[in-house]
C-alpha cells in the first residue's frame, strides 16, 4: 500500500471526524504553563479559534487516530463496508500536529477519536498513548478530549481519565432498538455501563478529601445523539437526554442532525440534514438545563417539537392562562418562562426593578426580545390586553423570526 503523506492523512482523518458535533473546550481545570517546561493553558472558558463555513466552531484539532473500523454501523462513514479512503496516524504524528498547531494558536487542544481496530482495548491503548505522550513527554497543558471505546476495559477508561479533561462516549442513536438494527455490534448496555463507571470515577476524584496528592482527572463527560437517522421523536430524544443528564451527570448532550454521508448505507435516509430540528432540540435541552423545565412540559414522548416556534414560546402559547405576568412583581421562575427573556435579561430585570418601575424600553435595554415578550408581559407602560389570547398570536410570533439556517 502506498504510504500516505501527512497532509493526505490529515485530510482523510479530519474529514472522517467532522460528523462529531462536540467541539467545546470549556470546563477544564484552570492551569497555565508559567511554572512548567511545556506549553499551554486552559482558563475555564473555551475559545473558538475559527469557524467553518458550516458555522460550527473550531476550537480543537478534531481527528480520528484511524478510520479503519471493524464495525458496520449504518450511520457511520467509517463502517467496515464503506468504500471511504482509509488512513492511520502514528502516535507521534498526532502529538506533533497538536503541538505545532497549538503553538501557533490555531487550537485549544486535541479531540481524539478513532475507529475500532483489532479490539476495543487495543484501540483505547493507542489513543491513551497519544494523550500520555502529550502530557508526560511534552508537558502539554492545553485541552484534551478523548472519545472512549465503550467496550474497552474499565482500567483503560480510568487511565484515559488521567490525561483527558473530558471524555465522551457516543450513544449515537436515541433509541436502543434502533441501535440494535443500525449498529448491530454495539450494545447499548455496554455504553451505559461505561458512562456509569465514568461518572463514579469523576465524582470520586472531585471529592475534596480525595483530591489532594492525586493526579488530576477528567472533569466531565459528554455524548452525542444523531437526529434523523431513525424514527425517534423529539420527545423520545429529550427523554433520553433527561435520563442521561440525571444518570451520568453529563456536561452536554450534543445533537447532530444526521447528514448524508458519501457512500451511504441504503438503510439510511438520503436527505438534507434536519438542521432546524437540531436547533430546536438544543433550545429544548437548554430549557431543561437552565430554565427549570421538565421534559414532559416541553414535549411528550412520541411527539415532535413544533418547528415553527422556539420551544419556550411554544410552551407559553399552550399555557396562556398563566400570562401576562407583571415583570415588576413576578418571581424569578415565572420570569424565566417568559418568551424573549433569557437568563441574563431576567437577572437584570431583578436588579433594575428594585430601583425603578420598568418600561418596555427598559426591557429592551436589558436584552429582552420585545417582539416575543410583549404578548406575555405587563410593564409600567404596557399591557397586552386581549393580545395574549388572540387566535393568530402564534402566526404573529413566528412569521418575522429570522432563522439563520440556510
Amino acid at each position: 500500500m502506498a504510504v500516505l503523506d501527512l497532509r493526505r492523512k490529515l485530510a482523510i482523518l479530519s474529514d472522517a471526524a467532522k460528523y462529531d458535533a462536540s467541539c467545546a473546550s470549556s470546563g477544564a481545570a484552570k492551569r497555565n504553563s508559567l511554572d512548567g517546561k511545556g506549553v499551554g493553558s486552559t482558563e475555564g472558558m473555551g475559545i473558538c479559534h475559527a469557524y467553518a463555513p458550516d458555522g460550527r466552531c473550531i476550537s480543537l484539532l478534531k481527528i480520528l487516530l484511524t478510520n479503519f473500523c471493524i464495525y458496520d454501523c449504518a450511520y457511520c462513514i467509517n463502517r467496515v463496508s464503506s468504500n471511504t479512503p482509509r488512513a492511520r496516524f502514528t502516535v507521534k504524528e498526532v502529538v506533533d500536529l497538536t503541538l505545532n498547531f497549538y503553538k501557533r494558536n490555531y487550537i485549544e487542544g486535541l479531540f481524539l477519536s478513532s475507529g475500532v481496530i483489532r479490539s476495543g482495548d487495543y484501540t483505547m491503548e493507542e489513543m491513551i498513548r497519544v494523550a500520555k505522550s502529550l502530557r508526560l513527554d511534552h508537558d502539554f497543558r492545553g485541552y484534551i478530549h478523548l472519545k472512549l471505546i465503550p467496550e474497552a476495559s474499565p482500567e483503560l477508561a480510568a487511565e484515559a481519565g488521567l490525561y483527558a479533561d473530558r471524555v465522551s462516549i457516543n450513544i449515537e442513536l436515541p433509541r436502543d432498538d434502533s441501535l440494535k438494527s443500525l449498529a448491530p455490534e454495539k450494545d447499548p448496555t455496554d455504553i451505559k455501563r461505561a458512562m456509569g463507571r465514568m461518572r463514579l470515577a469523576i465524582d470520586d476524584h472531585a471529592e475534596p478529601a480525595r483530591r489532594s496528592g492525586r493526579r488530576a482527572f477528567a472533569r466531565s463527560q459528554s455524548t452525542q445523539l444523531i437526529v434523523g437517522a431513525d424514527e425517534a421523536r423529539d420527545g423520545d430524544i429529550l427523554a433520553r437526554s433527561a435520563n442521561l443528564y440525571g444518570a451520568y451527570r453529563l456536561s452536554r448532550v450534543y445533537y447532530s442532525a444526521f447528514s448524508p454521508i458519501p457512500d451511504a448505507s441504503h438503510r439510511l435516509p438520503l436527505v438534507r440534514p434536519p438542521l432546524l430540528r437540531e436547533h430546536r432540540l438544543y433550545q429544548a435541552d437548554w430549557l431543561m438545563r437552565f430554565y427549570g423545565f421538565a421534559q414532559p412540559e416541553i414535549v411528550e414522548q412520541g411527539d415532535d417539537l413544533d418547528l415553527s416556534v422556539d420551544p419556550k414560546t411554544g410552551w407559553a402559547l399552550r399555557h396562556r392562562d398563566r400570562f401576562p405576568i407583571d415583570v415588576q412583581t413576578a418571581d424569578k421562575e415565572a420570569l424565566l418562562r417568559v418568551p424573549g427573556l433569557g437568563a441574563k435579561a431576567v437577572a437584570r430585570v431583578l436588579a433594575a426593578r428594585r430601583i425603578s418601575r420598568l418600561t418596555l424600553d427598559d426591557l429592551k435595554r436589558v436584552g429582552a426580545v420585545l417582539k416575543r415578550a410583549k404578548p406575555f408581559v405587563v410593564t409600567a407602560d404596557w399591557r397586552p390586553g386581549a393580545l395574549t389570547d388572540q387566535e393568530d398570536l402564534k402566526a404573529a410570533l413566528t412569521a418575522p423570526v429570522q432563522l439563520s439556517l440556510f
Binding site: S33, L34, A52, I58, K192, A247, P262, V349
Partner: protein
C-alpha cells in the same frame, strides 16, 4: 467649554485623575470635551490634582477600566457623566436598564468580545533562523485590548519567545516578562509558516458541506479579521463547492464494499464468537437478567445489578432494587444504604463475605429530576416480572436463611404484601422449608428523621441481623 487632554487612547489613570479633580471642583459633564489628540488650538489647562478623594462603587471602577479600551470617541465623556450622576444617584450603578448604564455595558461588552477574539484569532508564525523557538504575529484588534490581553498569551506560551504586532502597539514576551512598544507595520511580521498548509488542509476537511451556513460563520468570525487568518482565503471556494458536494453525496448510490473489507468483517465475526466462555449456572442467571426485557425498567437503567456472594452461602439477603450508585457500579449495596447495611452487619457480627446479597428487582427504577434520579418503588407487576431471576438465585444458592429487607423483598420472596411492622423480626418458615426473616430496608433507616426513632430502629435492625446470623449458623 473645557478641553481635557489625556496621555493616550487607553489612559485610564489620566482619566481617573482628571475626573476626580473635575468632579471635586463641580464641573458638570456638559462643560467638558475629552480628547487625546494633539490640537494646535488646544486651550486645555492643566488640571490641578485634588487632595481629597471620594468613594465610588467597585462595580463602576471595573466597568470603567473596560470601557476605556473601547474605540468610541465618547467613552471618556460617558464615564464622566456616570461618575457625575453617581454623586446624586448612588443606585444608578445597580440599574442595568438605565440608558447610560446600558450604553456603558454595551461598550464594555464590545471590549471583552474584542479581547476574546484576540485570544482566538492571533496566528503565530515561526521566526525562521531564531536561536530560541520564537514566534511572531500580526493582529488588528477591534478595540484597544492588546496590552490587556497580553498576559493571557504569557500564561499560555510561557516557554517560547513571541511578539504580537498591532497597528496601535506591540507586545513581546521573552520567557520572563512582557514588553510593550510602539505600533508596527504588517511587513514587520513573518509572512508565512510551513504549518499553515496543514492548517488549511484541516480547515477545509473538518467542515461538512451538507450543513453549509456561512451566515452563522460570519457572525462569529467577522470579516474584519479575515485578512490575517491564513485559512480565510479558502472560504469563498469552500462555500461555492459545498452545494455540489452535498448534492453529489445524496445522488451517488452506495457501492458494494470491497472484498478485502468483507473478508475482514467475516474474520472478525468468526473470531468474536470464540470470546464467550461457558458460564456457570449463577452466571447464566446474571447473563439472562442483563438482557432481560420482561418489564420496562431495563430501558432507563444503566445495567442489571446481579446478586453477589458465595454460590453456596448459608445466608441470603434480598433487598428491594439497585439505587443510583448500584446502578452505575453494577454491584448491589454499595451506596449509602449499602454502607449502613455493612456497618449493621459488622455490629451484629455477621461476616458479609459469607452471605449472598441480591435484590428483588434487578434494574433501577427511578424518575429523572434535573441532575438527580429519584428512587421509585417497583410496582407489583415489576416485582413479579423479575421474580424468576430471584427464584433462580434462591434455588442455586440454596441458603438456610433468607432475610427480606423491606416490603418489596417480602413481596418478592413470599408472594404476599404485608406491613413490615407486623412481620418484622419473627422467623417464619417458607414453603420450601427455608427459614425466612423480615426486617427493615436499610434505606428506611436513612430516611427516618427523628433521632430517637432512628436509633431504636437501628437497634432492632442489628438485632434482626444477628438473629439471622444465628439461624444460619454464622454467629
Amino acid at each position: 467649554m473645557r478641553v481635557v487632554r489625556l496621555g493616550s487612547e487607553v489612559d485610564f489613570d489620566g482619566w481617573r485623575k482628571a475626573a476626580r479633580a473635575l468632579r471635586a471642583e463641580g464641573t458638570p459633564p456638559e462643560a467638558l470635551v475629552w480628547t487625546v489628540e494633539r490640537d494646535l488650538f488646544d486651550h486645555g489647562e492643566p488640571i490641578a490634582a485634588t487632595a481629597g478623594t471620594f468613594a465610588v462603587p467597585a462595580a463602576f471602577m471595573n466597568l470603567a477600566q473596560q470601557v476605556v479600551l473601547n474605540r468610541s470617541p465618547d467613552r471618556f465623556a460617558l464615564l464622566y457623566r456616570i461618575l457625575w450622576r453617581l454623586e446624586r444617584e448612588p443606585r444608578l450603578i445597580d440599574n442595568p436598564a438605565e440608558t447610560d448604564m446600558a450604553r456603558a455595558r454595551d461598550m464594555a461588552k464590545a471590549v471583552s468580545r474584542a479581547a476574546h477574539k484576540m485570544k482566538a484569532f492571533v496566528r503565530f508564525r515561526l521566526v525562521e533562523g531564531a536561536e530560541k523557538e520564537t514566534y511572531a504575529a500580526w493582529f488588528e484588534p477591534a478595540h484597544r485590548v492588546t496590552e490587556a490581553t497580553a498576559p493571557f498569551f504569557a500564561r499560555r506560551f510561557a516557554n517560547m519567545d513571541w511578539t504580537i504586532l498591532t497597528p496601535d502597539v506591540c507586545v513581546a514576551w521573552d520567557g520572563d516578562r512582557l514588553m510593550v512598544s510602539e505600533g508596527a507595520d504588517p511587513a514587520d511580521a513573518p509572512s508565512e509558516d510551513a504549518q499553515e498548509e496543514l492548517w488549511r488542509t484541516y480547515y477545509a476537511s473538518i467542515f461538512n458541506p451538507a450543513r453549509l451556513n456561512p451566515r452563522q460563520m460570519r457572525q462569529e468570525m467577522p470579516k474584519r479579521y479575515w485578512r490575517n487568518l491564513p485559512e480565510a482565503a479558502l472560504i469563498p471556494g469552500l462555500i461555492e463547492a459545498a452545494q455540489d458536494r452535498a448534492a453529489a453525496m445524496v445522488a451517488t448510490p452506495p457501492r458494494p464494499p470491497s472484498d478485502r473489507v468483507l473478508k475482514a468483517a467475516q474474520r472478525h465475526a468468526r473470531d468474536a464468537s470464540f470470546g464467550a466462555g461457558i458460564p456457570t449456572s449463577l452466571e447464566a442467571v446474571l447473563a439472562g437478567a442483563s438482557v432481560c426485557r420482561r418489564c420496562d425498567l431495563w430501558r432507563d437503567a444503566t445495567q442489571s445489578v446481579p446478586g453477589e456472594g458465595p454460590p453456596n452461602a448459608p445466608l441470603m439477603f434480598v433487598g428491594e432494587q439497585p439505587g443510583d450508585q448500584e446502578d452505575l457500579a453494577g454491584r448491589p449495596f454499595v451506596g449509602p444504604a449499602g454502607q449502613l447495611f455493612d456497618r449493621a452487619l459488622a455490629e451484629a457480627g455477621v461476616p458479609r463475605q459469607r452471605a449472598y446479597v441480591t435484590n428483588a428487582v434487578k434494574h433501577f427504577k427511578h424518575e429523572p429530576r434535573g441532575k438527580v434520579r429519584l428512587h421509585k418503588t417497583p410496582s407489583q407487576g415489576e416485582v413479579s416480572a423479575c421474580r424468576g431471576w430471584m427464584d433462580a438465585e434462591r434455588r442455586l444458592v440454596s441458603p438456610r436463611v433468607i432475610v427480606m429487607l423491606g416490603a418489596t423483598a417480602a413481596l418478592s420472596v413470599t408472594g404476599r404484601a404485608a406491613p413490615i411492622t407486623e412481620s418484622r423480626g419473627r422467623p417464619l418458615t417458607l414453603p420450601d422449608q427455608v427459614q425466612g426473616l423480615v426486617t427493615f430496608h436499610p434505606s428506611h433507616l436513612l430516611r427516618l428523621t427523628d433521632t430517637a426513632a432512628k436509633a431504636a430502629a437501628y437497634r432492632s435492625f442489628v438485632q434482626d441481623l444477628r438473629l439471622a446470623g444465628e439461624l444460619a449458623g454464622l454467629v
